[in-house]
Amino acid sequence: MIYFAKVRGTAILSAITALACCLILVGNAIYFSGGEQPRFLMEKGDWTRNPWWLATFYFHIVGASVSLAAGTPLMFPAWTRKHPVWHRRLGYIYFHAVLWMAAPTGLVLAVTAKGGPLSTAGFVLAGILWWQTTWAGHQAIQRRDLPAHVRAMVRSFAWALSAPAFRVFQSALYVGGLDDESNYVASLWLSIAASVWLAESCLIRIRRGNVKLAPSSAGVMS
């Protein structure tokens, strides 16, 4: 994975990240099982009686799942070099899943986020930056500006990875004994910080020339 290129334990870190994304996809199936209402929805109380809120929630779940599934292979430069056509196809899916499903619905759901204004602010920030970086990545590749495309998409997918990061932090802080309310807010902001750090540290290594990228035509969207 591009984020861990030229760091110790690249393969293990990449495998853990891919596994974390898979776990989210498997976990999201709980919302489509048709059985009892999952606990996260119960925490939302009366909002689950609002059809617009429910549609927004399910749109977010589907959009975010699609973006994680489609985006993960795109972050492997070797795979991109080998399958440029598939890179374009998956990139197209990722781009639209983020711009019209996951990010805008995330912004709407931020208003009803548990944890109060601090959570709302965190989700709004993440939603806006996820949308903006994805859009910038598309604009860059339309101009055939590969370095700008890579920069934007590395940042964009790092925002997608804030979802698995959140769950890791939340589990760790729970084991550490933090109460649920503080845990939620702390995990959110820690996952935001982790996303920024992951993307920027990777981009610094790219700028220094430590990481080799795909040939120029690989990421061009049609």
């Binding site: 999952p38 059809p51 617009w52 549609a55 749109f59 548990k114 109060g116 969207m221």
Partner: protein, 168 residues
């Protein structure tokens, strides 16, 4: 804007509206079939007895059964959350929800001709127990409970059922 943009945006908007309409229908159907049992019971039992007809007094065992059902209904939302599917690797609160229990105590030493049965429903949910004194009219089968500084009907009391979520 080219076609590669318009088509996905159009599909997304269409899917969102279709999903909202589907949920609106599903929620509407659910609320028709989901009239609380307590409300039905309350309307059945709140009739004034006919003065000419012999009064069918509620037995103490029946009164205990009514209170048991009521306490069960009161703790149902909590138990529903407790048994809800949850994964540790999710955004749901990770802390396990403490169990909730109810206990009914009927006043001893009453006369068989007494028109009222006195009792207490005690709810334990991990922290301190909450005790609710209650009175059952043996002729009308109506229950009144004392909570939050006033006497309440069954449905008023059930509306105050505890939730394990401190935050939303």
């Amino acid at each position: 804007m080219n076609r590669s943009f318009i088509l996905p945006v159009f599909c997304a908007v269409l899917a969102f509206v279709a999903l909202s309409v589907a949920f609106r229908g599903a929620i509407g159907r659910e609320s028709v079939y989901n009239i609380p049992q307590s409300a039905i019971n309350e309307s059945r039992t709140s009739t004034i007895p006919n003065a000419a007809a012999p009064i069918d007094l509620l037995t103490v065992a029946d009164a205990e059964k009514i209170l048991g059902t009521l306490a069960d209904e009161f703790t149902r939302p909590w138990r529903k959350v407790q048994s809800a599917p949850r994964l540790i690797y999710s955004r749901a609160a990770p802390r396990p929800i403490p169990t909730i229990e109810s206990k009914i105590e009927l006043a001893k030493g009453g006369d068989a001709r007494d028109m009222l049965v006195l009792a207490t429903i005690t709810i334990h949910n991990g922290e301190h127990p909450d005790a609710f004194p209650c009175v059952i009219d043996r002729s009308t089968k109506q229950v009144r409970l004392y909570a939050a500084g006033q006497w309440q009907t069954q449905s008023e009391w059930l509306a105050t059922a505890p939730s394990p979520f401190g935050i939303r």
